[in-house]
Structure formats: structure tokens, C-alpha cells
């Protein structure tokens, strides 16, 4: 090893610990190398073995998730998952967290979250066509929260709008547990021809390694290790670890990559995301079982004087690494230059299985690749339920509403259940002319151009349920996503997830994680949904206070024909309203108890996977036969909130009689699962009820669309709320809370 080590700090246990490597991990590295690592080698290893890159605390549980299915062409392990959606097309999708950077610097944190997930998609050869964002903020009156909300929303818009990828949906929630650690989970989906998928597997000794895109600067160094630590009072000092995004460069990089891929000279391609040049090159060689030589003198730099350590760990954005068939470098480089991008050949693939990094005529790192990437440490962390679990799950006292109408009005006035229009009007949701249903419904719907088919997208999780019972909460997130897709007539083809948790070294958190994943796995199996990609974000805590477990699920479904697509709202007076599913008066973790009574206690609503499957099949059948004009899933706030939401779309009222269904009082807000509202023409009611009976789904006609008020008869009482006034409360909830 070269004398450059003299210029680098000496490697000690303390230096290793500062980079996130334990003493045992340092020993493991020493024995892999057969000597002490250099400082650069230590930095590379710390990044590759960081929780963010290696999944070392989550791997043992993630293996329990089903990852294959009839549509799956690529499961977890690549930049994104790939599922076949017919007509020769595949959908490529993934979700990723950008929680830590967004809390430190919201605009750039959220913007580069979008940038990173888009690169994961076009790296696979797919053109991104849609984004979703699942956001969790603290209470709006918490310190910095308005600044964080504003910055995150602007950041997502500022990046996605410029690249020209529509943000078609997602979800936004508010809870005290995120006051010190917000969540920004960005999802992107692209489409490609089935035979045109690119992977990140370096092969062919002698093939050149090209670098394309932005130059490398000092921003984002240690981003991956930062994302693997908790927050404390020093977090503000970590702002330099947040990258700065340039969506224009992303846009030209996208076009240049897709154009270059059409040329047939690209063997493998990978974006530089977390841990930049390190993870991109090591992972490509690791997956391909090859080695590489990198000449760091050729890496395009934004400023002179970057050390090998800084070059390998910089997280400057909008950069790509490509392995190109030997002799075709110039042809590929021409494409990138045409788009105004810089290209450099920075090394070549070797058969040695080692990474050899050269700089100023010296070797600054020489490490075996596969042991670092494929055999990273794996931990089965001690797991134990929280001591107060029984108390948390004790059945809560459920206060009856003195006035159900007032309770509904108060719920609709909260930012949690109020309209999120203020957010999504800042996102371009209609560019690319594929958006059939944009934000605000149950699932977003995109057409698949040139076919009659469509794709439905949704993202779901209820963190309060997950906090009370992570296993049920994990299953519920999957079940609700399936239900949302079914309301658009879509059959799920795959899901991606973003598992946001606290510190896994805390046994309670490890238990939450294990339970949530097991709940998800059970639901995925029962409902036939494979997990094709995903991301784990641990250490979401500030000064010892952890967030609620938040396993966000984003699911993609296939709609065979858009012809009979129902709306999530009522569309015509006179249509009959049918309630599918049966209430069981479940209030544990409900919005009614939490938002109106400050109670967060009890077991969350049970998830009956058989009932969910029957309901989803029924909904798909009703949509497929064009029998219903409206389908809307029951979720937070139960039937009362679902009815109000269904009225808002066109400002149509509804007259509903719940005496027969036996629903009254607090149960109007009960959150029993496996339920949905549908509306149909009067002459179709009989068929709908018969279909429900044949499907084994309880169904009851509860009223009709019409009038200017939501009028409800239940429990011997009758009340009516003018739709216009309700809508105003709901529409203004978020702007009012933000003080706009």
C-alpha cells in the first residue's frame, strides 16, 4: 500500500467508531484484508456496511416476505423491482426514504429524495411515468414544523415538476411522534418494454467503466452513515451531509441514459446514490462477481483537491456509472455530450474480484469486493415487546358522540382527515398525459398508452395501528392498499415498501420491526402480492424518542380495461349506495378516539385477510362488469368520513338510513376493516347485492345519492349536514392549520 496513507488519518477503533463501524466489524475488515485498512478503505467499508446500504439489522426478517409471483420479473436486490403488466410492457418501481436529510434541510432533502428514486427507475432502462410521496409530519405547532412542511412540499414539486414526472398521489399524516423526525418516502414507477431491462451487474473483463453526469463535489459525504444514526442536538451541524439537487441535470441524464441504452453498448448501469461512487461500483462488481480498477485521477471534480476518501464517499447528485462494451466508449460518450453532460472513462472491469483504486500513481485501496458487498455483517438483534404493551392494548373507553354531526365536522376539520389539496396542487400531476385519476382519490390511475389497460397506484400505512400492534398494523397496510386498488378495479401485481422505524439496537424497536414485517408477510401471502423492492430506514428517533413504527406500503395494480372505472365520489343523483362489509364496532387506534378524545389505546381493528380477499375480488368484478359508478374504501374515520368524502367530489348530497345496518353513535366512526362504499344505478342494485352474496361479502343498501346535504338516520336520530359547509371545513383544514 502506498505512501498516501501518510496523508490520511491513522485507522484506530475510535476512528472506525466515528464512522459507524463497531470494533467487531473493524476486526472483520482486518481479517478480510489480512492487514489494517487504510483510511479510504475504512470509509468505503463503513458506507457499505452501514445500516442504510447493508440492511444488516433487517435482512433476517426481510427474508420472510414473499418476493415471487406470476408477474414478477425482478424482485428485491436490483435498483428497483420489475413486474409484467402485459402488452409487452413491464412496470419498474421502488420506494425509498429520505427522512434524515429532509429533517435537516427540507427542500433539498425532499428534492434529492425524488431525484434518487427517479434514477433508480431509469437506471433499469425504464422511463419514469409517475411518483407518489408518503409524508409524515409532526403536529403543525411543533418547532420548525411549518418550515419543514413547506420545504418538503416545495422540494418534491421543485424537483419532480422540472424533470416532468407527474406526482399522482401519496398520503400525508400528522402525529406528535414525528415532531423530531419527519418521514419523506418517495416512490417512482417507470415503464419499459419487457425485453429492454437493464441491470447493475458488471461483467466482461476489459470493459471500460464510464462516469456520466454532474461532477463530484464535497456534498453528501457520509450521507449513508448519517442516515444510520439517530438525531441529537448536533444534527444541525450535519447540514453539509445533505446533497443539493439539480433537476435539470437529472432530466438530461434521464434522456441521455435512455438514449444510450437503446444503442446496445451498455453492459451494466447504476446510479450513484447513497455512498456514491463506492456503492455504485462495488455493488455492480459484487453482483456481477467481477473486479475493477478505478483511476481516481479521472473522476470529474467540481473543485480540485478532493482526496480519494472524499471522492469515494461524496453523494453529489445526478451521477451515473456505466459499464460499456469495449470499443464502444466513444459512441456512448457522444450521446451524453449531445445532452450537454460530461463523461469520463474512470476504470475497467477485471476478473480479479478485487477493487483496486489508483490515485496519483499509487494504490489507495485494494480490497476483495464480494466479501464486502455480499457478505456484509448480519445481525439478529434482541427483540422484546414493550413492557406496557398490555396497557396500550387494553380496550379503551369509547365516549359516545353527543352530536354525531358535530363529531364529523370536527374530524373533517383536522389536517389529518382534511383535504390535502394545498399540497398536491403544488405538484404537476398531469404532465405526460397518462393521469386518468390524480391525487385525492383512493388510488391514482394511469393509462398504459396504446392499450385499453391502466395501472393503479396507492400508498398506505396507519402508524397508530402499528404502534398499538405492529403485526396487525403491518397486515393492515397491505390489506388497505389492496382494497384501494380494488376500488379502481385493479388486481395487485406487486408492492414496494419503506420500513421506517427507530433504533434497531433497542429490543422494543427490533420487536416492532419483526412483528410488522411478519404482519406484512402474512397479508402479502394471503392476498397474493409479492414484495419486489423496498427500503429500510432505521434510527428514526430524536434524543431517545422513537417514531411510531411506519411500514409504508406502495402497491401497483393492473386494470384490464379503463372502460368501467368508477370514481371515488358520488357522480349522479338517484344512484343507490351500498355498504360492503360488516361493522364490528372497532375503535382501537381510531381517528375518532385519537383526534377527538386524545385516546390512543386498544387493539387496532382486526385484519381478516379472507374477508379482504373476498371484498377485493368482489370490487374487481363489479368494476369489470361496469356495474358501479362509485367505489370508495372505508378507512380513518369510518363510514361517516367515507360518506362525506364521497359527497365532496361533485358536491352531491346523500340520504342514508343506517337503522337496518344497526350503525349508530361512535360506531359511525368505527374503523372495522374490509369495508367499502359503492354506488350504482337503481336498476343495478339487485345485481350488485347478488354478486356480493355470491362473493361472500355482507352488503346492504343504505341510501341514495341526491340533495344538497349528507342526511343520516341512525340510532333513532336524524341529522343532516349541508355538503357545501362540510366541504369548506374539509378543504380549508390544512391551510387553516398552517396559518395561510
Amino acid at each position: 500500500m502506498a505512501s498516501v496513507r501518510g496523508a490520511e488519518p491513522a485507522v484506530t477503533e475510535e476512528v472506525a467508531r466515528a464512522q459507524g463501524l463497531t470494533a467487531e466489524e473493524l476486526d472483520r475488515l482486518r481479517s478480510l484484508l489480512g492487514r489494517d485498512p487504510s483510511y479510504t478503505e475504512l470509509g468505503i467499508t463503513a458506507a457499505l456496511w452501514s445500516e442504510h446500504c447493508s440492511y444488516k439489522s433487517s435482512k433476517v426478517y426481510l427474508r420472510e416476505l414473499p418476493t415471487s409471483g406470476p408477474h414478477v420479473l425482478q424482485g428485491p436486490g436490483e435498483n428497483a423491482g420489475v413486474v409484467d403488466v402485459g402488452h409487452g410492457w413491464v412496470a419498474v418501481f421502488k420506494m425509498e426514504s429520505h427522512n434524515h436529510p429532509s429533517f435537516i434541510e427540507p427542500y433539498q432533502g425532499a428534492a434529492t429524495g425524488v431525484g434518487g428514486i427517479l434514477r433508480d427507475i431509469f437506471t433499469m432502462g425504464a422511463r419514469p411515468i409517475a411518483c407518489l410521496d408518503s409524508l409524515r409530519f409532526g403536529e403543525i405547532d411543533a418547532p420548525r414544523m411549518r418550515f419543514l412542511i413547506d420545504g418538503v412540499v416545495r422540494g418534491i414539486g421543485g424537483y419532480g415538476n422540472c424533470v416532468g414526472i407527474p406526482t399522482v398521489g401519496g398520503e400525508t399524516g400528522f402525529h406528535r411522534c414525528y415532531d423530531g423526525n419527519i418521514l419523506v418516502n418517495a416512490f417512482a414507477l417507470g415503464i419499459a418494454r419487457r425485453d429492454h431491462i437493464f441491470k447493475a451487474r458488471a461483467s466482461g473483463a476489459g470493459n471500460p467503466i464510464l462516469y456520466a453526469g454532474s461532477r463530484t463535489g464535497r456534498d453528501g459525504i457520509h450521507g449513508a452513515t448519517m442516515a444510520s444514526e439517530s438525531f441529537d442536538a448536533e444534527s444541525e451541524a450535519k447540514r453539509p451531509t445533505v446533497q443539493v439537487g439539480d433537476p435539470f441535470t437529472e432530466k438530461v441524464l434521464l434522456e441521455a441514459c435512455l438514449e444510450a441504452m437503446r444503442g446496445g453498448a451498455i453492459v451494466a448501469i447504476q446510479d450513484m446514490g447513497a455512498a456514491g461512487l463506492t456503492s455504485s461500483t462495488f455493488e455492480m462488481a459484487g453482483r456481477g462477481g467481477t473486479g475493477m480498477v478505478l483511476d481516481l485521477d479521472r473522476v470529474p471534480l467540481r473543485e480540485p483537491g478532493l482526496s480519494p476518501y472524499e471522492m469515494m464517499l461524496s453523494e453529489s447528485q445526478e451521477r451515473m456509472v456505466l459499464v460499456v462494451r469495449r470499443g464502444h466508449e466513444e459512441e456512448v460518450a457522444r450521446t451524453f455530450r449531445r445532452w450537454g453532460l460530461e463523461v469520463a472513462t474512470i476504470g475497467e472491469v477485471t476478473a480479479t474480484g478485487r477493487a483496486e483504486l489508483r490515485w496519483h500513481g499509487e494504490t489507495v485501496a485494494d480490497m476483495p469486493i464480494a466479501p464486502l458487498t455480499e457478505e456484509a455483517p448480519v445481525y439478529r438483534r434482541p427483540a422484546a415487546p414493550p413492557a406496557d404493551l398490555a396497557a396500550r392494548q387494553a380496550p379503551p373507553e369509547v365516549p359516545q358522540p353527543a352530536d354525531p354531526r358535530a363529531a364529523l365536522e370536527r374530524l373533517l376539520s383536522t389536517p389529518e382527515l382534511g383535504s390535502k389539496d394545498w399540497i398536491w396542487h403544488q405538484y404537476d400531476y398531469s404532465v405526460r398525459t397518462s393521469t386518468v385519476v390524480g391525487p385525492g382519490g383512493d388510488a391514482a390511475v394511469l393509462r398504459l398508452k396504446g392499450t385499453a389497460a391502466g395501472l393503479a397506484l396507492t400508498s398506505d400505512v396507519n402508524p397508530v395501528y402499528c404502534a398499538l400492534d405492529p403485526r396487525t398494523g403491518g397486515a393492515q397496510a397491505v390489506a388497505e392498499a389492496v382494497r384501494n386498488l380494488a376500488c379502481a378495479g385493479a388486481e395487485p401485481v406487486g408492492l414496494t415498501d419503506c420500513l421506517n422505524f427507530g433504533n434497531p439496537e433497542n429490543p422494543e424497536i427490533a420487536w416492532q420491526f419483526r412483528e410488522a414485517v411478519r404482519g406484512m408477510a402474512a397479508a402479502c401471502r394471503a392476498l397474493g402480492v409479492p414484495v419486489v423492492s423496498g427500503n429500510v430506514s432505521f434510527y428514526n428517533e430524536t434524543e431517545g424518542r422513537s417514531i411510531h413504527p411506519t411500514p409504508t406500503v406502495a402497491m401497483v395494480g393492473l386494470i384490464p380495461s379503463l372502460a368501467g372505472l368508477p370514481a371515488a365520489h358520488f357522480t349522479a343523483p338517484g344512484e343507490r349506495i351500498v355498504l360492503l362489509g360488516r361493522d364490528r364496532g372497532e375503535h382501537g387506534g381510531s381517528a375518532y378516539l385519537r383526534l377527538l378524545h386524545g385516546i390512543e389505546q386498544g387493539r387496532p381493528p382486526a385484519v381478516d385477510l379472507e374477508a379482504e380477499l373476498r371484498l377485493a375480488r368482489l370490487l374487481r368484478r363489479l368494476v369489470g362488469r361496469s356495474l358501479i359508478a362509485t367505489a370508495h374504501d372505508l378507512a380513518e374515520g369510518g363510514l361517516a368520513v367515507a360518506l362525506a368524502e364521497a359527497c365532496f367530489g361533485r358536491g352531491l348530497g346523500a340520504e342514508v338510513d343506517l337503522e337496518g345496518a344497526g350503525l349508530a353513535g361512535a360506531d359511525l366512526f368505527s374503523e372495522t376493516q374490509a369495508r367499502a362504499l359503492v354506488a350504482c344505478r337503481p336498476e343495478a342494485v339487485e345485481t350488485v347485492l347478488r354478486e356480493a352474496e355470491e362473493a361472500g361479502v355482507p352488503a346492504a343498501e343504505i341510501g341514495a345519492v341526491g340533495g344538497a346535504a349528507l342526511a343520516v338516520r341512525s340510532g333513532g336520530e336524524a341529522w343532516a349536514a349541508p355538503v357545501g359547509a362540510l366541504r369548506e371545513l374539509w378543504a380549508g383544514a390544512l391551510p387553516r392549520a398552517l396559518g395561510l
Binding site: G157, V163, K251, V252, V431
Partner: protein, 260 residues
């Protein structure tokens, strides 16, 4: 009828316009690269939406100086049809092909939503088939669509009847609550005096197919196709005596004055 859709590196509605012209209207369409110096015999040139060169400076300011714009100016001067949508409208203003300028939206936020437009001119190549006073529903998606000019110049614009579309309420009334970007006199689109150059902020190409739930925008593109079909061909474009060679790099272009 051949439509050329200009592709600046940051255009992102180029494919959308191309798709409508080619697959919905079934007309010939081609892309024109921002460094092209000719228009490949296109009858209609569309400057599409997007962020031409990133728009980190004023939207459209750099694009106005690109090589293709010199050709677009010659095409416009010869009476050829030019349509600027959203970012394309911003480029037309910056290039001096239409008067006025864009400010940030009054909300200081990006606004994406459906708006109502009142047709003010039904005698343009882009509006034949529409009726003055007719309302169209169309999406907007922009951060800088707050049209502005001096009161005198706005008066002159009105007097010359160059306002083609205005934002209105669903009832067709001028109403600040329905003018989402705060544009002066609710101006959504304007044309040049001969009427062959039109710029508008809303996106007709995003509402031109039944599956998207709205076809109000199709009328504008269909009118352009119909106008081209029914009118005599243009004379061959006059080559500029010494076409001003503009710097190829955006960095150099940024150093030039905006030229207005």
C-alpha cells in the same frame, strides 16, 4: 400537415404534444432539436412546456437565445404558425415574438389545477371552430404564469384585440379567485397582430383525449391542423442574410443581455 415540436434539453411536454398531433389528430409530427438551425419544412412549430434549460434564470430567458429560435423567428415572420404552450409561451415572450413578461405566480407557488378559459378570439388559426365567449376547461401547471406589462402596453394589447384567452370563473365571469397565477387582466393567452403566433399558459395537449376525462384542448390543436389544410402553402423561408450564430453553450448564452 407537419408539426415540429421543439426539444430543449429540459422540455418535458414535448412527447405529449407530439402524441396528440401524431396519434390523436393523425398528422405528421417530428421533433426539432434546440441546436437545429432549420425547421425541417414544418408547417406548425410548437414550443412545448417544461424547463427549457432548467430555468434557473428567468423562465425561457436562455431558450430565447438558442439556435432553433432564430429559425422560429424567421418562420413566424414569414407567416408560419407558432404555438407556445406554458414554458413555450414564456420563451415566446423572452424572444420578443409576443409582448409582455411573466412574473412568479401571485401565490409564489407552483400551481397545478384545472382552470376555466374564456375564448376571446375565435378568428385565429388556432381558434377557428370555437366561439368567442365559449368556456374551455384546461389544466395549468406552472410557477411563472403571472402575465404582466405596463398599463399602456396592456391597453394597446387590448385595443389590438391580441388577448386570445382569459381566466374566468366556471360561469365565465372575471374573478380573482379563478385567476390562479394573478395574471394582469386575467390574461391566459395572447397572439401577435397577424394571429399566426399564439402563446398560452394552459396545456391543451393534456386534455385532448376522452380517456383523460376532458377534450376541451383538442379544439386548439385541431384548429391549427384545419387552418394549415385549408390555406395556401407558405413561400420558402427567407434565409437571413447572415444568420446570427449564437453561442452553443448555455453558460455563454447566460452572459448575453435578454434582448428586450
Amino acid at each position: 400537415m407537419k408539426c415540429g415540436v421543439v426539444v430543449f434539453p429540459g422540455s418535458n411536454c414535448d412527447h405529449d404534444v407530439y402524441h396528440v398531433w401524431k396519434h390523436v389528430l393523425q398528422q405528421e409530427a417530428t421533433f426539432l432539436w434546440h441546436q437545429d438551425e432549420t425547421l425541417k419544412d414544418c408547417d406548425l412549430v410548437v414550443l412545448p412546456g417544461g424547463f427549457a434549460y432548467g430555468d434557473y434564470l428567468r423562465a425561457g430567458a436562455l431558450a430565447a437565445l438558442s439556435p432553433v429560435m432564430a429559425a422560429v423567428k424567421r418562420h413566424a415572420a414569414a407567416g408560419g404558425l407558432v404555438l407556445g404552450i406554458c414554458n413555450g409561451f414564456q420563451v415566446l415572450l423572452e424572444a420578443g415574438l409576443l409582448p409582455g413578461a411573466m412574473r412568479r405566480n401571485a401565490s409564489l407557488r407552483f400551481e397545478c389545477r384545472d382552470v376555466w378559459l374564456r375564448v376571446e378570439r375565435d378568428d385565429l388559426p388556432f381558434t377557428r371552430g370555437l366561439r368567442a365567449g365559449q368556456l374551455l376547461r384546461m389544466p395549468i401547471a406552472h410557477a411563472e404564469g403571472n402575465y404582466e406589462d405596463s398599463p399602456e402596453r396592456l391597453d394597446a394589447l387590448e385595443a389590438a384585440r391580441l388577448v386570445a384567452f382569459r381566466y374566468t370563473s366556471p360561469a365565465g365571469e372575471l374573478d380573482p379567485a379563478w385567476n390562479f397565477n394573478g395574471a394582469a387582466r386575467a390574461i391566459a393567452g395572447i397572439c401577435n397582430p397577424p394571429g399566426n403566433v399564439l402563446g398560452l399558459m394552459p396545456h391543451p395537449e393534456r386534455c385532448a383525449e376522452e380517456v383523460l376525462g376532458n377534450i376541451d384542448g383538442l379544439a386548439i390543436l385541431a384548429a391549427a391542423a384545419e387552418s394549415l389544410r385549408s390555406r395556401p402553402p407558405l413561400p420558402p423561408p427567407r434565409e437571413a442574410a447572415a444568420p446570427a450564430r449564437l453561442p452553443a453553450t448555455t453558460a455563454a448564452a447566460a452572459a448575453l443581455p435578454a434582448g428586450r
